[in-house]
């Protein structure tokens, strides 16, 4: 008989670790229908008939946030057979707030007091039996991180599920409230599953909108119940919801004082607090942050670790071991030269170019994962909040930017922490402006071909990215769709702890493997297709393989569209094809341009190609090309993430459209006006257009915000007062 066990608990309680521990790789991840809340389900290791359903981390079963609603619906409608409630043993009072609500559901529950290892280290003692008796359920100790107790808890939960015993929830509330609840239970009996009766009654007492909607009580009946509730409210001089909340906490305080003995009573300064006082210090916070991030990037991309590994991968692994070896074989076996070209200069070079930058990206990823695991990322959001608020965003919008420097896909997904939908959409729309590691080869190519590998090119690329986000933020905030102050910043800061190697390594491995998979499938295919398209065409009136690929099919197709990019300085078919190829994967762009210009071993540096590029484009055109590709629509994978997170075709198109449009405008201004200043461009029609575009952008940037803090339209005097 299949048994369904739900895993519920606060965020930061160790739920994810326990879920992974219980299900191993037998898990399936998706989204709850219709919402961007992740749904994780798996089978218990060693007991295939036990299904573990991971619920989103929630603080309570109220109907206010998406996660809570999703968890609630599952528990009430899907009727799991048991619940494992993960409770953070070092934060037990707050965690029990959810526990009392779960028990009211009447589903057999096992409370797993997690992080018991930390509890013991702190010298605190938890009496499991007393706690269980007071709460009305079984309580067990676990340390998911250390792999202790999770399986026992799951097994016990499965046992309880099979026994199907009735759960007796204790009386948590005061006499008069319990009385009112009993009354309500009588009134709604028969309308709901017997198991959930008490939970529904309490929700009715709280005047829970969603429950009332679901129950559809007759007006007469509701009036009667409402009177009872109002009586209680008058008696206690508080609203029903607050009454329930306060009494819950009071009950929990009593339970905890009898069952939990803390070594140090009262609020104490922990090691985490001491670290926080330094790390979030008014003066030291930003410099510390800058130093840490500089270290991260220096390790990932710097001269000691990052660059050597990348160079080795490109030159040795791909260059010597693969390309030259295979070329040797093929020429030795007298394989037709065009086929050799396809395999060595096309496929291996193309795929190799991509593989080349994977080590660097992985290192960056490991570093960012460590920062997150340690708990510092949460502090970063807090530190940045003050600055970001000035642009109408909250600090939570900064984390996606940081992650975006590695890869845009998790960056877009990281926007989920932003509760405010408006802010979240805006963050999704602008996060991809930050150069991800796949864009680094593009920067490298431009820096090498046009600027003699100057260091400032890369720095300016990041600067352009951040600037674009800030500009976009300001401009978008003055539009109706995004108007209004950023939502209040509330974030729980988990205590610092040493990074768990398992989590970090496993995540990095998964990401690396995905990238490699992508290289050998999508990129391989596109390289082959491009190679063929640029090898065949009409030369001298006949169709066949061409000598000069400017006569190829690809050149024809690219050339037809290239006019779009003429005002930006790079209206050639090669650049057009490159940009489009970049949509498949940004790292693809350099390889594709290499193929278009007839070069092999372009890899990440593309030395041979540089002189040709320098001849074909002016310096400012090269820079404009770089900016365009950095800012325009991201790769397919990132676009897919945007589509999933926006959950709306209209918004997805808006996001991608905005990025392309913004990129076009920026490139236009940079090429025309920058070129004018540098003397590489002559004043013409498009220069005038660029001036107009610049004027337009400045206007949008600096105009008075026509909307107030709540997104309402300001008129007349109020508008000028709010300027």
């Amino acid at each position: 008989m299949e048994v369904k066990i739900a895993l519920a608990g606060n965020p930061n309680s160790g739920k994810t670790t326990m879920f992974n521990d219980l299900t191993g790789s037998n898990q399936r991840v998706g989204n709850w229908p219709g919402v961007t809340v992740e749904k994780k389900e798996g089978r218990l290791k060693g007991a295939r008939d036990v299904v573990i359903q991971d619920l989103p981390g929630i603080y309570s079963l109220s109907p206010y946030t998406l996660e809570e609603v999703v968890a609630r619906s599952y528990l009430v409608n899907e009727k799991p057979d048991a619940i494992i409630n993960i409770v953070d043993g070092t934060n037990i009072e707050r965690n029990l707030y959810l526990t009392t609500q779960l028990i009211e559901l009447g589903i057999p529950t096992v409370v797993a007091v997690n992080m018991i290892d930390v509890v013991r280290k702190n010298g605190d003692k938890i009496d499991l039996k007393k706690l269980g008796a007071a709460l009305g359920c079984e309580v067990m100790e676990t340390s998911a991180l250390k792999g202790e107790g999770s399986h026992e808890a799951a097994r016990r939960a499965a046992e309880l599920a099979r026994e199907g015993r009735r759960v007796e929830a204790p009386s948590v509330f005061d006499g008069s409230v319990e009385h009112a609840i009993a009354h309500i239970e009588e009134s709604i009996e028969g309308r709901v599953d017997k198991r959930y009766l008490r939970w529904y009654a309490i929700k009715v007492f709280e005047r829970d909108e969603k429950v009332l909607e679901e129950l559809k009580l007759e007006p007469g009946l509701w009036k009667h119940i409402d009177e009872h509730i109002s009586d209680c409210e008058r008696e206690m001089d508080d609203d029903a919801e607050s009454i329930i909340t306060n009494q819950r906490y009071a009950y929990i305080a009593r339970v905890v004082s009898s069952a939990v003995k803390k070594k140090q009573s009262g609020l104490k300064m922990t090691a985490s607090d001491k670290i926080d006082r330094i790390v979030t210090d008014r003066i030291a916070a930003l410099p510390i942050f800058v130093v840490i991030m500089a270290a991260v990037y220096w390790i990932a991309m710097g001269p000691v670790i990052g660059t050597p590994i990348t160079d080795w991968t490109n030159d040795v692994l791909v260059g010597e071991w693969c390309m030259e070896t295979v070329r040797g074989w093929m020429e030795g076996a007298a394989v037709a030269p065009w086929l050799t070209g396809l395999v060595v200069d096309g496929i291996i070079a193309g795929v190799g170019a991509v593989i080349g930058f994977v080590p660097q990206m992985l290192i960056l990823f490991v570093m960012l994962s460590i920062l997150e695991d340690v708990g510092y990322m949460a502090r970063i959001a807090f530190i940045m909040d003050r600055i970001f608020r000035k642009f109408g965003l909250s600090g939570k919008s900064f984390i996606p930017m940081l992650i975006g420097s590695g890869c845009g896909v998790p960056a877009v997904m990281a926007s989920r922490t932003i509760e405010n939908e408006r802010d979240r959409r805006m963050t999704i729309m602008t996060t991809c402006f930050i150069p991800c590691s796949a864009k680094l080869p593009i920067i490298g190519m431009i820096a090498g071909a046009f600027f003699d590998n100057a260091w400032w090119v890369a720095t300016s690329a990041y600067f352009v990215g951040v600037l674009s986000i800030v500009i976009s933020g300001i401009i978008l905030k003055k539009l109706k769709a995004f108007a209004g102050d950023a939502a209040p910043f509330v974030m729980e800061l988990p205590p610092y702890h040493a990074p768990a190697a398992g989590n970090v390594l496993r995540a990095t491995w998964e990401r690396g493997w995905s990238f490699i998979k992508r290289a050998f499938t999508v990129i391989l295919l596109s390289t082959v297709i491009i190679w063929f398209l640029q090898s065949f065409g009409s030369e001298n009136g006949a169709f066949g393989m061409v000598e000069d690929n400017n006569n190829s099919l690809l050149a024809a197709v690219g050339g037809a569209v290239a006019f779009i990019f003429v005002p930006l300085g790079f209206g050639t078919w090669q650049a057009t094809v490159g940009a489009v190829g970049g949509l498949v994967a940004k790292e693809n762009l350099v390889a594709i341009m290499g193929v278009c210009y007839g070069f092999a071993e372009v890899a990440e540096a593309g030395d041979e190609m540089w002189s040709i590029l320098a001849a074909d484009y002016s310096g400012i055109a090269g820079y404009s090309f770089m900016v365009f590709n950095l800012l325009c629509a991201p790769c397919f994978a990132a676009m897919g993430a945007i589509k999933r997170e926006m959950n709306s075709p209209k918004w997805t198109l808006a996001a991608i459209g905005y990025m392309c449009g913004f990129a076009y405008c920026m490139s236009l201004v940079i090429y025309q006006l920058g070129g004018l200043i540098l003397g590489q461009v002559v004043f013409g029609f498009w220069t005038a257009v660029a001036l107009a575009v610049l004027a337009g952008m400045l206007y949008l940037l600096f105009r008075r915000n026509p909307y107030g803090e709540y997104g309402e339209r300001l008129r007349g005097k109020r508008a000028s007062a709010n300027a």
């Binding site: 965020p11 930061n12 992974n20 991840v29 990322m377 998790p410 993430a641």
Partner: protein, 62 residues
């Protein structure tokens, strides 16, 4: 015909190999598309991502 094959055996072999690889790659891409996995560079959505803390919930760690 046979003579041509003998002379160009290597080319044919390599050509077939390339075709096989391309077909495999194409099949994999289509299979992923059907399963709705998309060419996400993070394989299983949010599977075991250490960054899952930042991705969902309010700073859900561990």
């Amino acid at each position: 015909m046979l003579e041509w094959l003998c002379v160009n055996a290597a080319s044919v072999a390599v050509g077939l190999a390339v075709l096989a690889v391309v077909a495999l790659a194409a099949w994999k891409v289509l299979k992923d598309k059907k399963h709705g996995k998309g060419s996400c560079s993070c394989g299983s959505g949010c599977g075991g991502c250490a960054c899952s803390g930042i991705c969902h919930g309010h700073a859900e760690g561990k």
